[in-house]
Amino acid sequence: MTAELEILVIAMVTAVAAALPGAYLVLRRTAMVSDAISHAILPGIVVAFFLTEDLNSPLLLIAAAATGVLTVVLIEALIRSRLIPEDASIGIVFPALFSIGVILISRAASDVHLDTDSVLLGELAFAPFHRLTVAGVDLGPAALWSMGTILVLNVGLILLAWKELKLATVDSSLAALLGFQPVVVHYGLMTMVSVTAVGAFDAVGSILVVALMIAPPATAYLLAERLAPMVVVAAVVAAVGAALGWAFALALDVSIAGSIAAASGLLFAAAFLMAPRRGLLAQARRRQGQRLDFAVRMLVVHLFHHEGTPEASEECRVAGLHRHLGWSESWTRRVVGKAAELELVERNGEQVLPTADGRRLADDAVIGFGA
């Protein structure tokens, strides 16, 4: 496998691994916790790095994941004290922990290779250079192994605790009532988020973990109506976004992680515009349809109201309709056309008259209003 292809595979595996817990974060309205965790794990990484002096040690992963969970505990302690609201609790805890990490690095690690840039930004392009070798045999990039393991763990945990996660996400009171311990589920999910964020940090950097965790699930939220399809769509969108970003970065020789985040954003924008039911275009089309539908009813009621009265010849004349209804001529033509298509009205020389169906509709509409 070439280095480029290895990068692509690592990026796709990382994106899918992040999107899975991300789907639950989006649904639980705790998306910003991923931002907090991905920053706050820094001191954990630094302390573990001081102890092991090895950036690839598994202890780093464990220490950082523990810091992530500690972040959640601190945030929730602040919220539960009812002295500080939720958003402010998040906004206070993670900068404090991050600051401790930065200060630790600059106090002690000026001579060791660990800088804030690499933690924050990551550099996917270097990932293929860290190989996993066992007994002299090259088994591929270390990042692929760590992220692959995390992906398998995430898939396994989600399948194993599907019911619990679903219930705790959709209705945590009911989950508690049925004895499912939503608190345990919550901390389990947060541990998953922490481990994933730590695994991803040296590949894509901590800020872009946030993009991978939130953007694909948010995209899926616009496309799917049920939980299982949403999780699957989120994973697919994540993989597509990673591939798109990778191709873009390769073509223009720019930051891979940055392009992946941008591509994920682009996919969301596309779904926001064009999602079949929830997109802006679908909304506009639906509104247009409702407007036309309402206008057709107006027209039929108008014709019905004047039918057989002395002024009918004037009120129901095709050329005069737009004046009586206060519409533009083109809109009137369109409404009459639509009504004729639905066989609610028919032309009779200069006149438009309601059909039997049209009379029934108008009658229903008027009585409906009166009742």
Binding site: R29, I90, G91, F94, S264
Partner: protein, 373 residues
């Protein structure tokens, strides 16, 4: 004072102080409007603006860069608003997504800049993590001008922003354009965030907006004192952080400021009068032992009230027993109350509250009325 004769330190401390003032004052409103994380999103989203401003003008003049940053941050909040209004994606997801996606675009642009042959791009990264030591006089002048403009506008629109923060529906019923006010407030917040990017960087800017307000909120229940306190805390933390980091080698300014701020928050959480954890703990502790005693004292007090002018008129245990729940050991309770000087035995089997007991009972009633109202 010898400290402040150092030119660099004076510039850095001044810049940090200005930042603390603007972020503290505007952050108070963001805090009350539950928009604490907007500062975080704004600061990350500013990155592509910084890059574009540099790409277009090729200059690193503070005002140019700040303008680019502000525009990008402003765009990001517009995007968040649009997504929240027109889709079912929740607010926090929209915020986090725009933060990370804008930041990603910024990273892409930064790598484009890095490939340009001219070396003039050096220093743009200082916006990422903050590099207070590299602040120049002209930076601080620009920061001060923007900060002063922010505070001035905040003062002029005080009433409007107050209304917006506490009851935006009432504001719109008064004919105020809530949308426009909201946009204006976001603009001011954008400016405050942009002021701080060079000093503390994008990640820590969030704390500059949230923490002073959170600390001040513990200390007061009124808006004006809260904003004043938050501004003061912001200035104090900014200057203290700058001084500490210049006194101690290898102590970066931004994180130091944030840790000073976090300490102020922690202290006010614990020690805030009437609200803090310590106060809560003490008042709970005071409540617990008196819970079993107070009812009996209150009954005696109520009985004594029926005999005004006769402080020595005693009442029997039998009467008290009918007033107390079954299982209360009245002898023991009365003995306890007597040992605390709250009641006295006026005759065999007859008890009355002492003057101290009557005062305690009156105070208890008053505090009950207070909590009830």
């Amino acid at each position: 004072m010898e400290l402040f004769s150092d030119y660099t330190l004076r510039v850095v401390a001044l810049g940090s102080g200005v930042l603390g003032a603007a972020a503290g004052a505007l952050g108070s409103f963001a805090y009350l409007r539950r928009q604490s994380l907007v500062g975080d999103a704004l600061s990350h989203a500013a990155l592509p603006g910084i890059a574009v401003a540099f790409l277009l003008t090729g200059s690193k003049a503070p005002l140019t860069i700040m303008l680019g940053a502000a525009l990008a941050g402003w765009l990001a909040t517009l995007a968040v608003g649009l997504v929240v209004r027109r889709s079912r994606v929740p607010y926090d997801s929209a915020l986090g997504m725009s933060l990370a996606v804008f930041f990603g675009i910024g990273l892409v642009l930064l790598t484009v800049i890095q490939k340009r042959p001219d070396a003039a791009q050096a220093g743009l990264e200082s916006f990422l993590f903050g590099q207070a030591a590299s602040l120049l006089r002209e930076d601080v002048v620009a920061m001060s001008a923007l900060g002063a403009a922010c505070l001035l506008l905040l003062g002029l629109l005080w009433k409007e922003f107050k209304l917006l923060s506490f009851d935006s529906e009432f504001a719109s019923s008064l004919g105020r354009s809530v949308g426009r006010l909201d946009g204006l407030f976001t603009l001011l917040l954008v400016i405050a965030v942009v002021i701080g990017l060079r000093t503390v960087g994008v990640v820590l800017m969030s704390a500059m907006v949230v923490a002073p307000a959170a600390a001040a909120r513990q200390l007061t229940d009124r808006l004006a004192p809260m904003v004043a306190l938050a501004t003061a805390i912001g200035v104090f933390s900014g200057v203290t952080g700058a001084v500490l980091s210049s006194l101690i080698p290898r102590l970066p300014t931004g994180p130091t400021i944030v840790l000073v701020l976090s300490s102020v928050v922690a202290i006010s959480l614990v020690f805030a009068p009437r609200r803090g954890l310590l106060w809560r703990w003490i008042s709970l502790g005071r409540l617990a032992p008196s819970a079993a005693l107070d009812p009996v004292l209150m009954h005696l007090y109520a009985l004594a009230q029926q005999h005004p002018g006769e402080p020595d008129h005693g009442h029997g245990i039998a009467v008290l027993r009918t007033m107390s729940p079954a299982g209360v050991d009245l002898d023991q309770v009365l003995e306890n109350l007597r040992s605390r000087g709250l009641v006295e035995r006026v005759d065999e089997g007859l008890w009355a509250p002492t003057a101290i007991g009557r005062r305690e009972a009156e105070r208890h009633l008053a505090s009950q009325n207070e909590t009830a109202s």
